[in-house]
């Protein structure tokens, strides 16, 4: 991506977590996965994201544990850097930069004293990167040596063999094995098709950890186990076949006793190595398996799935956790929307569902079942799809359109209106309108009502009408709530309406009928005026906001962007651009136009009233951008830089054709993020177990210089044969444990008090806390307490009273 001023396009939130194979930490407690421009560290037990390792400036293309240190991990990125992280604390330890290459994926192996990172570059060469061992944080990787050239772009098609002695790489119909020591490579070819029509193309490769055996997966679902591959002719392979379509991932367990394979069937198959007739299955994992990884101790497996999900499996028996990212199907029919209440991003999720995804927390909140029918996983079936959805301004109503197309004339349509239920904190179906229109619905729009109660919805359709739907109290005085019904049916010269838009104060409705834009007043459904800029049908309509609300913008198919002044009903300006999407920022006057130009998309941000665009970004991404959304910020930015001012109120997220969710980030913001990540302090304790609480505190006291007992660590470090007898030591040891009570220092005491109060505030009465506070109950003895007349107990009593009093008072005031 191109650097553009100090505003950059980044992957932030909702990125693919199944892009590359995740790495499991040695103790199986953490899962590291590449997600956009950061490495996310998940807990395998709770599915929560602990933290993100930030610092890369482009898409991360590989994450691997460092073999020599199980608390460190490498990551590599398209920005040409390899970084070494302490992933438990999220600290960047070192990073190596190479100006020459974009690293596409990364394999790491140590086979000499030096560390080598093998990286596959954009030219699909495999190069060995020599990382110098020096203290500086940033090192320049100068020594690059090409190992293999012209390898597959799929990282699963290359693998290191036993103890890094050789590297295996598969091209479509060729297996190449390169031995590092002998500098010799062997190639084995397969025929394109065998007699039975199976396709022999290689899809993935893995090597046995202790034996010389290569497992390769193929397009027709076969797995071949290659042996004797250090001979040009006497090589041999055996074939396993269970999968009915391509094998997408293969892994050996760390001991090499089992082989795991997965594919489209979404079944994890476990083959016994050398007894391949025995196999175990873990079916119904949901979504095609794209990657399999195994923790170094073999306790956990994890599978990445095509629906942006990572499943954590305990030893091929049980699914223990599911980490779900933003669900990305093969295509998205609805627009990107922001749910006004939770500020969650809403779009198509699972088939027949809408997903609510929190961009702030980067987490899937929930899926809302719209179709409410069982989805049948079979290709070629026509099933109901959610094609359109809209929220009203306050977030109390959601309108959805689902359609099923069996044949062109038999289109089935449902318009559903969902009310937000405060008790359930979810949307509840209010009205289902089957066949709301005779043709496909082209646009759906709620008016922007500021006082809260929305009672109108406008839908336009290919049948030549637009309909206004009204929330009406039930005619019969039964105990049903209000429901929606059709209020007005509008048409214009039997033209097909393509888009509609309410003005900012909802006093006007603009409906684009092919070349003609009609402006209606919703109060009386009167046609006020028509605007037209032939030739070319109007594709997108958008009213200006705030001070620019007098402007109406329209994009036409004849590559024009027109701006009409509604006060004069005349064309204010027109410019020639092929706008594929027009968006208005709800919190400012800014508008964003995504223009398709020469195979890629450009972005212009402008105010309708001003001649110059505020911001422009050429060649944002390849292909058309058809989905984008302004997401209001939680905290306003106060940037005065001209080019980034438009980002002060909202983020702009957009979805590329390859279903990547991208956004813009300013330099200042980025600096803040990296700064915050560097502030993290090294702490040697990881888990807050009861044992740690007890011992850790004790250690604090031990480490205190005023604490008299320095002998204990010395005692533990002494060789046993020079120590006095155990009976003598025992009493000393017990003594040493009691010392903290006998000689508390002033600071120590204060600290303890603070801790104690904290504990009380938390109002927890666990056993653990009581045990910790036990030393407090002991008489403080001759500790130098000169000033306070009150004893400790008295102080505590007083504090408790104080607190009680306060809450009681508070209750009175309320």
């Amino acid at each position: 991506m191109v650097e553009h001023g100090d505003v950059r396009v980044v992957h932030k939130g909702g990125s693919k977590i199944n892009f590359r194979e995740p790495a499991l930490s040695t103790d199986s407690r953490f899962l590291l996965c590449a997600s956009g421009e950061s490495v996310k560290v998940f807990s395998t037990a709770t599915e929560e994201c602990l933290h993100a390792l930030q610092g890369h400036t482009d898409l991360i293309t590989g994450v691997l544990l460092r073999p020599s240190n199980h608390l460190q991990a490498y990551s590599c990125s398209l920005d040409g850097t390899v970084r070494l992280w302490d992933f438990t604390d999220g600290i960047l330890i070192r990073w190596a930069k190479s100006n020459r290459v974009n690293i596409w994926c990364c394999f790491i192996y140590v086979w000499t004293v030096h560390l080598h990172v093998c990286a596959c570059t954009e030219l699909f060469q495999l190069v060995a990167v020599h990382l110098p061992q020096c203290g500086e944080q940033l090192v320049e990787a100068k020594e690059l040596s090409a190992v293999l050239s012209n390898i597959s772009s799929n990282p699963a098609a290359s693998a290191f063999g036993r103890e890094g002695q050789y590297i295996v790489s598969a091209k479509p119909l060729q297996l190449e094995v390169y031995f590092f020591k002998k500098h010799k490579s062997y190639s084995f070819f397969l025929k394109k098709d065998n007699q039975k029509g199976g396709k022999n193309t290689f899809t993935c490769i893995t090597c046995h950890p202790t034996e010389d055996c290569i497992a390769s997966g193929h397009e027709d679902g076969k797995i071949r186990l290659w042996r004797n591959f250090n001979h040009r002719k006497e090589y041999t392979y055996s074939t396993l076949h269970w999968h009915h379509s391509a094998v997408s991932s293969l892994r050996f367990t760390p001991e090499g006793t089992n082989l795991l394979s997965g594919g489209v069937e979404s079944v994890l198959v476990q083959w016994r190595y050398n007894q391949e007739s025995q196999r175990d299955f873990l079916p119904r994992l949901g979504g095609a398996i794209t990657h399999i990884s195994v923790s170094p101790d073999g306790a956990l497996f994890c599978t990445s799935h095509s629906d942006n999900k990572i499943t954590i499996i305990q030893s091929c028996v049980k699914v223990s956790a599911v980490i779900q990212g933003l669900v990305k199907g093969d295509r998205i029919r609805t627009d990107l929307m922001i749910e006004p209440r939770s500020k969650a991003l809403v779009l198509n999720g699972k088939p027949g569902h809408l997903q609510f995804y929190s961009l702030q927390r980067d987490k899937l909140l929930y899926n809302l079942d719209i179709v409410q029918q069982e989805y049948i996983h079979e290709s070629g079936l026509e099933q109901f799809e959610v094609v359109m959805a809209a929220f009203d301004a306050s977030g109390s109503w959601l309108a959805t359109v689902e359609e099923r197309k069996q044949k062109a004339p038999e289109l089935e349509l449902n318009l559903k209106l969902w009310a937000f239920d405060d008790q359930k904190q979810s949307f509840v179906l209010n009205t289902t309108i089957s066949a709301p229109h005779e043709g496909r619905i082209t646009a759906l729009c709620f008016p922007h009502v500021s006082d809260g109660q929305t009672t109108m919805l406008v839908s336009t359709s290919r049948d030549g009408h637009f309909k206004a739907w009204q929330l009406a109290a039930p005619a019969h005085t039964e105990d049903e709530g209000p429901s929606w019904s059709c209020d007005f049916l509008g048409a214009y010269h039997s033209l097909v309406p393509e888009c509609c838009c309410f003005s900012a104060d909802s006093s006007l409705l603009a409906v684009g009928f092919q070349e003609v834009v009609t402006v209606w007043t919703p109060a009386s459904w009167e046609l006020l005026t028509t605007l037209s800029q032939p030739p070319g049908a109007v594709r997108d309509l958008c009213f200006g906001r705030l001070s620019c609300s007098k402007y109406l913008l329209g994009a036409t198919t004849s590559r024009l962007l027109c701006c009409w002044n509604l006060l004069t009903c005349s064309l204010e300006w027109v410019t020639s651009m092929d706008v594929s999407l027009l968006l208005a920022d709800p919190l400012s006057e800014n508008m964003a136009a995504f223009c398709f130009e020469a195979g890629s998309t450009d972005l212009f941000v402008f105010k309708p009233g001003e001649p110059r665009p505020l911001f422009s970004h050429k060649a944002l991404c390849s292909g058309r951008v058809t989905h984008a959304v302004f997401v209001p910020r939680e905290v306003m930015l106060e940037s005065c830089d001209e080019a980034s001012q438009w980002l002060n109120c909202s983020h702009l997220y957009f979805l590329t054709q390859s279903m990547d969710l991208l956004t813009f980030i300013t330099k200042a913001e980025e600096d803040k993020l990296t700064a915050s990540s560097k502030q993290l302090v090294v702490s040697d304790d990881v888990a807050m177990t009861p044992f740690h609480l007890l011992l850790g505190k004790h250690r604090d006291q031990l480490e205190n210089p005023q604490g008299s007992n320095v002998s204990l660590p010395q005692l533990l470090q002494m060789p046993a044969h020079v120590l006095p007898s155990a009976s003598f030591l025992c009493s000393m040891f017990v003594q040493s444990l009691l010392i903290s009570v006998n000689k508390p220092s002033e600071q120590n005491k204060e600290k303890e008090e603070e801790m104690e109060s904290e504990k009380e505030e938390e109002d927890s009465d666990g056993e653990m806390e009581s045990r910790i506070s036990r030393p407090e109950h002991m008489p403080s003895g001759e500790s130098g307490c000169a000033a306070p007349a009150l004893t400790k107990e008295e102080v505590r009593e007083l504090r408790r009273l104080k607190k009680l009093d306060h809450s009681w008072m508070k209750g009175l005031l309320d």
Partner: protein, 647 residues
């Protein structure tokens, strides 16, 4: 090439017999195949897999095992006898009763001094191999239950025996059983497991294949199971080990052959493990017999085919050696035609059938049969011996056949519907053919049409021509000439009726023409040798089994193998090796002008498949005897049921 009226005969009910056992002699490259009807066939692997010799079976002989000892062939079967064959006279030399009930297996030690047989009564009997015969030496410890399979340790000190539910290892010196391994089925202990096959390797490893579908690898010293490979749901019927003991193949009831290889699990180390590698599926039924040669896997079974599957890591790729071969039909003609009378004689193991051809009077591409073919006689052979060969005279009034012990001649009289048959008495042979310097059997005979010449070929490749004319004068066959010996065995010989040239086709697909008058190769034959045959011709994998001539067009020679029928026009130029060898169907599609350019001496027709015989009748109509594979398959018992994906 001309047009012919073709009798397309499909009523020859030839049914090959299932393959029961095989043995391969590596030093002579001969494979012995025992069929279900007791016949033993010898294939020469060095000479294009040609079926050199056939020892006809007997109806009471059921061969279970074969064994080569220094070029001597032994067989044993359910009759309880051990038979040694005379490979020159093509009949059993002697048989020795083992007195242990039916014999299931026979195996010789690698020193080739002892022959071990496994009997129904649970004894392993040792026979000493003497110069002229074998002599019983002793019994090993008698066991309960039959001995199904035997394998000698290469040192000859131990012998492993596969039994029901167990494998035993005997000390060959003392005869004591040293080790017993139970290979009982743990999942279903009630059912018995038959150890169909064992193999004893020199590193004290025993490999067994059993009826539970497992190939198990045992340590013979400690008797522990090292590895267990479940390869089929049905039986593992046979095992074969390569010469260097790096590869083992196992045949199953599903028709698959599974290869196991001893591979080093890590490079450069000696810790070899037996790993299942390749699976070959060339059979539809049980694979009963297996042989692992140095370069190929040879398998045969219930579906009667002999399949030679080369191991691609041992042979050069894309050569003739690397092609898969299936041997379906015998390499000699079982059909004889009376070309004047329009009769066909079919030879079966125990009877002959004489058929009259059908008739049709219409013209056109497809001729409807006006008169159905008619079976005139079924001539049943008396006695147990099977028929070796048979012939009918061109006029159709004489029929002769022979068994290993006798020759019979019948006179037929066909007069408007009445058939009479009369057995003729044969005097003792008045003349003996003898080939100087060779004791190999004569396998081809061909007389010239005028009855002057008789050509005979033996399996050493010698072809002699005798003058029959002088036979009438003296009772001594006068040797006219001897052809130069060609390295490959002749598969068909014939003497031209007008020119008197002898044409011979050989197993390596070469063709020679020899002038009997001048006693030298003809100019055509020399030019053929000079220019060489077309590569596509040489790559065919079935031998030419019959040569015939057209009286009306002396330049035309009719040849056929199992998959094509060819007329060689000796007047046309020979095909160039570089050019495409068009067959007649392809020639029809190209333009006439080009057709002229492309025309060559070899006119090949592939319209008829699985050809058993082609004959030219005197009325210039062709008789084509086909045996479609589907007919053979339909007569086989149904194969074991297998679950197929998506069915």
């Amino acid at each position: 090439m001309g047009e012919f009226v073709v009798h397309r005969v499909r009523f020859f009910d030839y049914m090959p017999s299932a393959i029961r056992a095989m043995a391969f002699n590596g030093s002579t490259q001969r494979l012995a195949v025992a069929r279900g009807d007791g016949a033993v066939e010898i294939f020469n692997f060095a000479d294009n897999y040609f079926q050199e010799k056939v020892i006809p079976g007997r109806s009471d002989r059921a061969i279970e095992a074969l064994c080569w000892v220094r070029g001597r062939l032994f067989s044993a079967g359910l009759s309880g006898e051990i038979i040694e064959y005379d490979l020159e006279k093509l009949r059993p030399r002697y048989s020795v009763e083992a007195y242990g009930g039916p014999i299931w297996t026979i195996s010789s030690n690698s020193q080739e001094t002892l022959l071990g047989v496994g009997c129904e009564d649970g004894t392993v009997k040792m026979f000493e191999i003497l110069e002229e015969r074998i002599q019983f030496q002793r019994n090993l410890d008698r066991q309960k239950g039959r001995i199904i399979s035997l394998s000698w340790h290469p040192s000859g000190a131990q012998i492993a025996a596969g039994m029901i539910d167990m494998i035993r290892i005997f000390d060959a010196e003392t005869g004591k059983s040293t080790l017993k391994r139970s290979s009982q089925n743990r999942t279903a202990p009630k059912t018995h497991v038959v150890v169909w096959s064992v193999a004893f390797l020199s590193n004290d490893t025993v490999i067994s294949g059993d009826s539970a579908g497992k190939v198990q690898i045992w340590d013979a010293v400690t008797g522990t199971l090292i590895r267990n490979h479940l390869i089929t749901k049905w039986d593992v019927l046979g095992l074969a080990v390569s010469q260097d003991e790096s590869s083992v193949i196992a045949g199953t009831s599903e028709g698959t052959v599974v290869q196991f290889q001893a591979l080093a699990s890590t490079m450069g180390q000696e810790n070899n493990q037996w790993v299942r590698t390749r699976t070959f599926k060339n059979h539809t039924h049980d694979v009963r017999a297996l042989v692992h040669t140095d370069t190929a896997v040879v398998s045969g079974g219930m579906d009667t085919q002999l399949v030679v599957r080369p191991l691609l890591d041992k042979v050069e790729k894309n050569t003739q050696e690397s092609a898969l071969r299936k041997i379906l039909f015998p390499h000699k003609s079982l059909v004889c035609c009376a070309r004047k009378a329009g009769l066909l004689l079919f030879q079966f193991p125990d009877h002959l059938e004489l058929w009259r051809l059908g008739e049709s009077r219409q013209a056109g591409d497809r001729l409807p049969v006006m008169k159905n073919p008619e079976k005139l006689i079924q001539l049943q052979n008396k006695g147990e011996d099977h028929i070796c060969c048979s012939a009918v005279s061109p006029c159709g009034s004489w029929v002769a056949f022979s068994t290993v012990s006798s020759v019979r001649l019948y006179k037929l009289q066909l007069s408007n519907g009445n058939i009479s048959i009369k057995k003729m008495l044969l005097r003792a042979f008045s003349a003996f053919l003898s080939f100087p310097g060779s004791s190999q059997p004569i396998h081809l005979l061909s007389a010239s049409e005028n009855g002057n010449w008789l050509a005979a070929a033996n399996t050493d490749g010698q072809i002699h021509v005798f003058n029959l004319h002088k036979l009438k004068v003296s009772s001594y066959l006068f040797l006219h000439c001897t052809l130069p010996v060609y390295s490959s065995c002749p598969t068909a010989i014939a003497i031209h009726p007008t020119t008197g040239h002898l044409l011979s086709a050989h197993a390596d697909q070469q063709i020679f023409e020899f002038s009997l008058k001048l006693k030298e190769y003809t100019a055509w034959s020399r030019s053929l040798q000079r220019e060489g045959l077309h590569p596509l011709w040489l790559q065919r994998d079935t031998p030419i089994t019959h040569i015939a001539f057209n009286r009306n067009k002396p330049a035309h020679v009719f040849l056929h193998d199992a998959f094509m029928f060819c007329i060689i026009d000796q007047s046309l130029p020979l095909p160039q090796a570089r050019k495409k060898l068009y067959n007649q169907m392809d020639l029809k599609t190209i333009s006439p002008q080009k057709r002229m350019q492309e025309s060559h001496a070899f006119k090949i027709c592939k319209m008829f498949q699985h050809l058993l015989s082609i004959h030219l009748l005197d009325d210039s109509s062709l008789v084509v005897v086909e045996r479609p594979l589907a007919d053979i398959v339909s007569q086989l018992p149904p194969p074991v049921r297998q679950k197929k994906f998506a069915t």
